[in-house]
């Protein structure tokens, strides 16, 4: 049973940031904003408790997988390893798609933890979005230009401080 005060606290954006920073003090604030964007469907700038719990479990899974590949504890993994990491998360993607993701998110052949999480957040959000449309679960869905534009462009996180 959550008290009203706890509920309010848990619903606030600042709580999320606080929790994320506890999780990893080096966590980029932009990644936190991206998480809110991807999961903030009513554009309120906040996240409910259930969504937060789901995200927390996902973050742990992403962290564990990343760490299993980052054997030298450098805080980065090799671009190639990222493809394996994504596969081991259960995403069923073609070599072409995996290659694109690897190229898009890596810098000089390596991917830092923060960018890895950013990639996972997007992949999760986009897959969610797709799955909601694919009601017959056959791997295809119809998208109207207007709707996709809005969704994709709203994934933006400003780099301006």
């Amino acid at each position: 049973m959550i008290s009203p005060l706890e509920n309010e606290w848990m619903n606030s954006l600042s709580f999320l940031f606080y929790f994320i920073f506890l999780f990893n003090p080096a966590f980029n604030i932009d990644t936190c904003r991206l998480m809110i964007n991807m999961l903030d469907r009513d554009m309120s700038g906040t996240m409910g408790f259930t969504e937060f719990k789901d995200l927390w479990q996902a973050l742990n899974a992403w962290k564990n997988i990343f760490m299993s590949f980052d054997r030298d504890r450098s805080g980065t993994v090799e671009a190639q390893e990222m493809q394996q990491a994504i596969k081991s998360l259960g995403y069923n993607l073609s070599p072409n798609a995996l290659n694109m993701i690897m190229k898009r998110y890596s810098v000089n052949g390596r991917i830092p933890f923060d960018d890895f999480v950013s990639c996972c957040v997007r992949l999760r959000g986009l897959t969610d979005h797709f799955q909601r449309r694919d009601t017959s679960r056959n791997g295809t869905a119809n998208f109207h230009y207007d709707d996709v534009s809005a969704y994709i462009l709203c994934m933006h996180v400003s780099a301006i401080a």
Binding site: S94, F130, T140, D146, S149, S158
Partner: protein, 234 residues
């Protein structure tokens, strides 16, 4: 559901060879659709396509040999050993050239998506013709922005961005446009970097859509893999 991945989505992928499920269709036939065709040469059209509108045209006039092209020297100066430009090199180039002028320099993320916008072969880098195409687009967008930024604040207002996007030929509903612009504004104003990011994403997404919407219906039936290919890159 707590599980972060979506295991078993569509048919499971067999360990070798051509996967059989809807997501795993062989690439040359379905997965990428027209993406694997020779579409690198076709210039984007301004305002020609009803549901989507345009963006800025590329300069595909007479082909100058690269060596005679004034931009070639500039390109090779920043391209490095591999002869292609990556996001960091592009950021350096745009900053050093003073392209952004009095506006704040482009973020690395914006440079990444600029490359992704034209990176049709998914190398994560930009070749010379793509580089030229990008500069044409950037100049067009900058002109558009400075036209609206009359007070030279380095920002435009919500309604000005709405006008700017419409003037580029994009046909997006007012509600969608409103939601988009809300995301790009900081304190009620939109900065040049965010504005360019918006233009880049719009153009990339519109390109993807146009190539697949052969019936000009304003909608596309996506396979999951292709959807991810289009949307994760932007």
């Amino acid at each position: 559901m707590a599980y972060p991945g979506y295991g078993g989505y569509g048919s499971p992928m067999p360990p070798q060879g051509m996967p059989g499920g809807p997501m795993g269709r062989p690439l040359p036939n379905h997965m990428g659709g027209p993406m694997l065709g020779p579409m690198g040469g076709a210039p984007p059209q301004v305002g020609g396509y009803a549901p989507y509108g345009g963006g800025y045209p590329g300069t595909y006039g007479a082909l100058t040999p690269a060596a005679n092209d004034p931009m070639w020297g500039y390109f090779t100066a920043i391209a490095g050993q591999d002869g292609e430009v990556d996001a960091m090199e592009l950021q350096r180039c745009l900053t050093q050239s003073g392209f952004t002028g009095t506006y704040s320099p482009f973020s690395l993320e914006t440079c990444r998506i600029m490359i992704a916008m034209l990176d049709r072969d998914f190398t994560g880098k930009m070749g010379f013709s793509e580089f030229k195409e990008l500069f044409v687009a950037l100049n067009g967008w900058k002109q558009n922005f400075t036209m609206f930024d009359r007070d030279r604040s380095g920002t435009v207002e919500h309604h000005e961005l709405t006008q700017a996007i419409s003037s580029m030929g994009y046909r997006i509903s007012p509600q969608a446009l409103n939601a988009i612009i809300k995301r790009y504004n900081k304190g009620g104003r939109i900065y040049f970097d965010d504005y360019v990011a918006c233009c880049v994403k719009l153009r990339a997404l519109t390109d993807h859509f146009k190539r697949r919407d052969t019936m000009h219906q304003g909608s596309v039936h996506f396979g999951y893999d292709d959807f991810i290919l289009c949307t994760m890159a932007i």
